[in-house]
Symmetry: C2
Subunit: 376 residues, 2 copies
């Protein structure tokens, strides 16, 4: 006699639950093939299959449960097919939690040489060795599949800023056609999803049109792209506000490349769930530290004799083990340990900020929390 | 009624016990104010108050219980008085175990500008900012006291190689006068000691005379200096052999700046107890890895697709968490994590080599062990 076990077919895509709301802000949980992510969440940037100056253990110790990998960098070095043959990006970089990969669209515009944009995609030469490549929506999605991304981003064109409205509109329309091709190229599977990216520059009506078009196509989540590139915080927030009404409530929202703590707090209040930014990691490598009392430049001579920790309320090893005087010394001496400790601290600061935001939403106290942060 | 508690006065100096012998090799234990060190021991180099690319926790996790700090670097930046005001070097760098500081003699010869050697000491200008300094035996010992070294090294002149016998002899005699002044300047205290340094270049009779002179002065331990600077392994070993008979059995012996694994094994067989060298740390930062199957250059393209760990028998995070392909990628991409992981691996390799040497001495199997190592 055969025993029949009936299992519900696993759901394609990623899960998203909203656990609490405070105004337009949401406390949520994204569920991926590599575990859950409590939102609002910050994603440390792991460009070349490493969050710079951090071991994966130490990234996880900050509280991060998702990192961002850069498709452009990884397809050029070490190569997407190579990473796939080695078992995928999670195994390659020994990161057991979730990974979101960008589409390569932003970096191909900012880093590649001799790039030529056509309806098909972007032809370019590698900034590393001059080799010729073609990145299309289909190839971008394929690369992200080879990497094993839990969250794939659709391929888009990133328009520079400032630029004419006509150029923004034409670029956004191209990105929407590429979004449709990205979605079609994406192989649905359990625990993996693809996000569309709202474009439209600093024009609210273009943002609305873009968001509406993406929702027609249908994505697992929606990103807001092409911001934090010089337009200023007020405009960034205005574009978030313009995009939000068109986006479904039951899907996560990701504001790309943002930002400083105040930018994140403001965007969370406007309903954003996910963020990535190089600021905490890059700042750490140049001697900058975020603290509850403001930002410190460790290169400054006023820290040379200071026995106090960076931030007495921080749980990270840089704060529990060392003085500002020591961190100043390491920074001045150009020691690798300066980058290691300050990156660890800044990512802990960001992770704790997100945890505090989540707690504030759960308690319905986001406004008070945001005002307390802003007064620093 | 008064209760009188009689306590034995704590012994000045550092302790040293010999637990087993195998030929002229010794298994021992050095006891300092910051804990015991099982010998033969390797001391990672922490030049500027950090073992480069390592947190103190990760240094201790390799098994190291003593690190070396560089007097020359620390007196110039951040300054010995500053470190003393901040609670000493142990607290400054958050290293709870023992520290040996060199005297500054070697670095002042190799790094400082406009140096002028007189009977008094060495006048020089800082390689960092051109400021004028005078390093004497008394100032060297004072700086090491300010740093809080468990083991202080007497100030000596390091003669270059090759050089005439007359120059070596004259330099050695100067170093012996400086050794006497260093010893006199050293304040004896429990758990802290001062080592003399045998000089004499590649001349066995000068080495013997130097060792004899140091023993007359009387030190807590004896170092053999001025070697591993181009004379070749056979000559290094010959100079160790020439120095040993004059040195007391009951005091630790330290071969400065040595070396590669084979150098260490050979010196342990000749009765050396302590070593320091930049090779494992510096090699790690240039993509070199020591393994039980030989040395690997991770920059080599043959590792690009290799899913195997660096060394399947190694317990370190670089070997348990990552492939050669990943380490190759990090090295080629110039990622800080390459330096972190390869330094961790190399220091683990050295710590395990020392543990294996200690086990072999305890079992009376040092010859077999040394032959097995040499056949790799």
């Amino acid at each position: 006699m055969a025993i029949c076990v009936v299992r519900a077919a696993p759901m394609n895509g990623i899960g998203f639950e909203i656990l609490a709301r405070d105004g337009t802000a949401r406390l949520g949980r994204v569920t991926t093939a590599h575990g859950p992510i409590e939102t609002p969440a910050f994603m440390p940037v792991g460009t070349a299959a490493t969050v710079k100056a951090m071991t994966p253990d130490s990234v996880a110790a900050t509280g991060a449960r998702i990192v961002l990998g850069n498709t452009y960098h990884l397809m050029l070095r070490p190569g997407a097919e190579r990473i796939a043959a080695l078992g995928g990006l999670h195994r390659f970089m020994n990161w057991p939690h979730a990974i979101l990969t960008d589409s390569g669209g932003f970096q191909v515009m900012s880093l590649a040489a001799l790039r030529k944009i056509t309806e098909a995609g972007v032809a370019f030469r590698s900034h590393l060795d001059g080799s010729a490549h073609l990145l299309t929506p289909e190839r971008s999605v394929e690369v992200q599949h080879l990497l094993g991304a839990d969250i794939t981003m659709s391929f888009d064109e990133c328009t520079p800023f400032p630029v004419t409205r006509e150029a923004v509109e034409s670029s956004m329309e191209l990105s929407m056609r590429w979004a449709e091709r990205s979605r079609a190229a994406f192989a649905p599977r359990p625990g993996h999803g693809i996000f569309g990216i709202v474009q439209g520059g600093v024009h609210p009506d273009l943002r609305q049109r873009s968001a509406g078009r993406l929702v027609e196509i249908g994505f697992d989540g929606y990103a807001i792209g092409g911001l934090a590139i010089g337009e200023g915080q007020a405009t960034t927030f205005a574009m978030v506000e313009a995009s939000m009404p068109s986006l479904p409530q039951d899907r996560p929202r990701y504001l790309m490349g943002v930002g400083k703590p105040g930018d994140i707090v403001g965007a969370v209040r406007r309903g954003v769930d996910m963020f990535d930014c190089v600021i905490p990691t890059r700042s750490g490598r140049t001697g900058q530290a975020f603290t509850r009392a403001g930002t410190l430049n460790l290169r400054n001579a006023r820290h040379a004799d200071d026995p106090a920790p960076l931030d007495p309320d921080c749980r990270c090893p840089a704060c529990t083990g060392f003085s500002r005087a020591y961190l100043h010394h390491l920074t001045k001496a150009g020691e690798i340990l300066a980058s290691m400790l300050l990156t660890r601290h800044n990512l802990t600061y960001y992770a704790d900020l997100m945890a505090d935001l989540r707690a504030a939403i759960a308690q319905g106290k986001l406004s008070e929390f945001a005002e307390a942060i802003a007064s620093v």
